[in-house]
Amino acid sequence: MKAENRANDVDVAWQTWLALEREAVWLYPLIGARIPALTQQSRDALTAHRSTRDRLANRVPSDATTAQAAYEIGEMSSVRDGRAAAQSIEKRIQAACLTLLKVAPVANRDFALKGLRAAARAATAWGAPPEPFPGLE
């Protein structure tokens, strides 16, 4: 039973991260389209997240998530709104990567750590202040 719970935690952690990458692939084109000053940065972010999503989709043991038609993002009419939305998704990805790193077998730690570091750097690039422990709640 304990092993089953652990396997379920690992599965949930993979799928949580994949779902967030799908959200990022939906979000960044929207930011780029609505806020011209952020178009290039959004384009670069989209490329990175699309690649991560595809790599994740190939690794996730059972992919039960699907991309939604739309996600709740609130106001999106200024550079500040765009940066806030980008920081939000990158921070949630950090938390997902860290959870995976904690519950998954050691062999998967490197993959999760690379995802965590990429999301932390991305959050800073979108204007988030540096934190001592990104991804920890």
Partner: protein, 148 residues
């Protein structure tokens, strides 16, 4: 369902390892008494591998803090490094100024070492703290470079 890693839980767990790394079993015993008083069950004795990893990370953190101060880094970066050092059981007074590399280069090197330490950690809690603080150092490098 969403799983979340609690900062309090993992920092408490790593502090037990840090206590063993600094003051030995007596300090760790006092630490266990303190967290029992908070109603938290003490963690099992950490592995020697983890104690060595914490010691190495603590030395890096102490040296990096001195370098950041020498480089005139922003308060947000100094505070970040102080908090990381404290979570590893280190103190500012134990630091040595290496002074042989610019801060961004030194910080990037420490981040890469800490990432490697995270992959070696026996305790998942220690792996989490080392990984998260690695990402924090990445952010410190980016913020430092943006400020120059």
């Amino acid at each position: 369902m969403t799983l979340v890693v609690s900062r309090r839980a993992v920092v408490v767990a790593v502090a037990g390892t840090a206590a063993l790394g600094t003051g030995g079993a007596v300090a760790a015993g006092r630490f266990d008494d303190a967290i029992r008083a908070l109603g938290i069950r003490p963690h099992p004795e950490p592995s020697s591998v983890d104690i060595d990893l914490v010691k190495a990370a603590r030395r890096d953190a102490a040296d990096l803090l001195i370098q950041a101060e020498s480089a005139g880094a922003a308060d947000t970066i100094i505070d970040l490094l102080r908090e990381q050092l404290a979570s590893l059981g280190g103190t500012r007074s134990a630091a040595r100024d290496r002074g042989d590399a610019d801060f961004a280069t030194a910080c990037r090197a420490v981040a890469d070492r800490r990432a490697a330490q995270s992959l070696k950690a026996v305790s998942p809690d220690l792996a989490v703290v080392l990984a998260s603080s690695t990402a924090g150092l990445d952010q410190a490098v980016a913020a430092f470079k943006a400020s120059r």
